[in-house]
Amino acid sequence: MENQAASHALQIAVRGLVKRYHYHPVLNQLTLDIEHGAFCILVGSNGAGKTTLLRILASLSRADEGRIWIGGMLLGTSPLLRKRIGYISHHTMFYQDLTAIENLRHYARLYALQDIDEKIQAGIQSTGLTRAQHQPVRTFSRGMQQRLSIARALLHDPDILLFDEPYTGLDQEAAQSLDQKLNALHQAGRTILLAAHRPQRLISIASHVAWLNDGKIIQHIPTSRLADIPDLYHYLQEAA
C-alpha cells in the first residue's frame, strides 16, 4: 500500500513491469517514477523496449505483470484515463483518403471535445499546415504527416505526453519548432516522456534522463547531474 501512497504524488508510477515476446522479457521488472511537470527523455539502444514501454503507458499494449499509476489512478481501471494522454508513435494513425481537417475532426470527436473547429484551426496553424489543410493526407510528405500527428496528439490538451521518436521525418525547421513547442509545454507544466534514439538536442531543455537497458531503467537522473554519471554521459556522446 505504500506503493500506492507514493504513487499519488507522482504523475507516472511504474512498478514491476514485465512484458514478454517469445517468452523473452523485453521489459523485465521495470520501475519508473515521473513527477508532475517533468520532461523526461527516455534513451536506450534500438530494441531496448522504449516503444513497448510507451505503448503500455498509453494502454495500447498490455503488460504481462506489474502495475502502473497515471496521476494516482491505476491504469486499466477506467478508459477515461486515456483522455489525459497524448501519444505520438512511428505511425501517423491517419486515414489516407481523408483531409488533414477531417482526420483531426475525427479524433476530436472521439475525445468528445467542445469547440472542435477552433481547436483544429489552432492545431493546424501551430504546425504550419494551413495551406494543405483541405488536401488528403495521402498527398502529404512524411514530415508534414509527422507535424499533423503532433497537432493530433495535442488536440485534446492532455497533461501527459508520450512521444515516441517525434523527430522522425522532420526537417531542420520543423525540428526546431518542435523543440520550442516541447519547451512551451514543459513550461506550462505538462508531463513529458519522450523516447529518442539521438537525444542530444533535447538535453538542454529536458529536466530528466532515463536510461533503458536490458528491460530496466538503469539510470534516472536530472539533466543537471549528467556529469556525475560517466557511463550515461559517454552513452549519450556515442549516440549523438
Binding site: R20, Y21, H22, Y23, D64
Partner: protein, 225 residues
C-alpha cells in the same frame, strides 16, 4: 519435462486394456441388429468417437477461457491439445459413419446435414491451426487461439439447432420410434454403448494429456534455443 505421472501411466494401461475389452464385448456379446447386420456394431465406436471429439472441442473452449483469465500458457497447451485430439476423433466419426452409410444408404457420402456439419466442425478446427500458424509470437497464438476456440464452441449449439430444423435422414439414435434407420437398443446394446462412451472418454483424456506434455516439452525447447 517432468517425470511421467503415475495417473497418466494408469490412464495408458487402462486404455490399452479397455479398448480391446470393449471391442470383444461389442463383437461377441451384443446381438446382431436385425436389419442392418454386423455393420451396425461400428455404431458403438462411431458415436463414442463423435462424443469424444465434441467433448474435446468443448474442453478446448473452457481451457481457452482459462487462458484469457489467468494468462498462463499451460491453459493454452490444454486448449491446443484438446482441439488436436478432438480433430482426430472427429475424423474417426466421419470415416466410420461413411463406412456405415455405404451398405445402409448405398452411398459413401450423403449430404445429410448432420454428417455435413460434422465435416464443417472439422474445417472450423482445422482453421484454428491455420490461424495459429500465421501468428508470430506464442503470446498472440495463445490469445487469439483462445478467442477463436471460445467463439467456435459457442456456434456449435446454433449449428446443431440448424441441423435439427433441416430434415435429416440421419438416424436419431435415442428414441423409441423406428423411423428412417433408427433402431431400438436392447439392454446389452445399451451396456456396450455406455462402456464404449466411457472408454473413449478415457482415451480422450489420455491422449490430450500426452499431447499437453509434448506442447510443454516443445515450449521448453524453444525457450532454451
Amino acid at each position: 519435462m517432468s517425470k511421467k505421472p503415475t495417473l497418466l501411466l494408469l490412464f495408458d494401461v487402462l486404455s490399452l486394456i479397455l479398448i480391446p475389452a470393449a471391442l470383444i464385448l461389442i463383437l461377441f456379446f451384443t446381438p446382431v441388429e436385425r436389419v442392418m447386420g454386423p455393420v451396425q456394431k461400428v455404431f458403438y465406436f462411431h458415436v463414442s468417437a463423435a462424443w469424444a471429439g465434441m467433448l474435446g472441442f468443448i474442453f478446448a473452449g473452457v481451457a481457452g477461457a482459462g487462458y484469457l483469465i489467468t494468462r498462463r500458457q499451460t491453459w493454452d497447451w490444454l486448449s491446443l491439445s484438446a482441439i488436436e485430439v478432438g480433430l482426430v476423433f472427429g475424423l474417426i466419426a466421419i470415416l466410420s459413419g461413411m463406412i456405415w452409410a455405404q451398405p445402409i444408404w448405398n452411398t459413401w457420402w450423403v449430404w445429410d446435414p448432420r454428417l455435413t456439419t460434422t465435416a464443417i466442425m472439422e474445417l472450423i478446427y482445422l482453421a484454428y491451426f491455420i490461424l495459429r500458424s500465421g501468428l508470430d509470437t506464442p503470446e498472440a497464438r495463445a490469445r487469439l487461439g483462445a478467442v477463436y476456440a471460445i467463439v467456435s464452441v459457442g456456434t456449435v449449439p446454433l449449428t446443431f439447432f440448424s441441423i435439427r430444423l433441416f430434415r435429416t435422414i440421419h438416424p436419431v439414435v435415442i428414441t423409441t420410434g423406428g423411423e428412417g434407420g433408427a433402431f431400438n437398443m436392447s439392454p446389452r446394446m445399451l451396456l456396450a454403448f455406455f462402456i464404449s462412451l466411457a472408454v473413449f472418454t478415457l482415451l480422450l483424456a489420455d491422449l490430450v494429456w500426452h499431447r499437453y506434455r509434448l506442447a510443454e516439452l516443445q515450449t521448453q525447447n524453444k525457450q532454451e534455443a
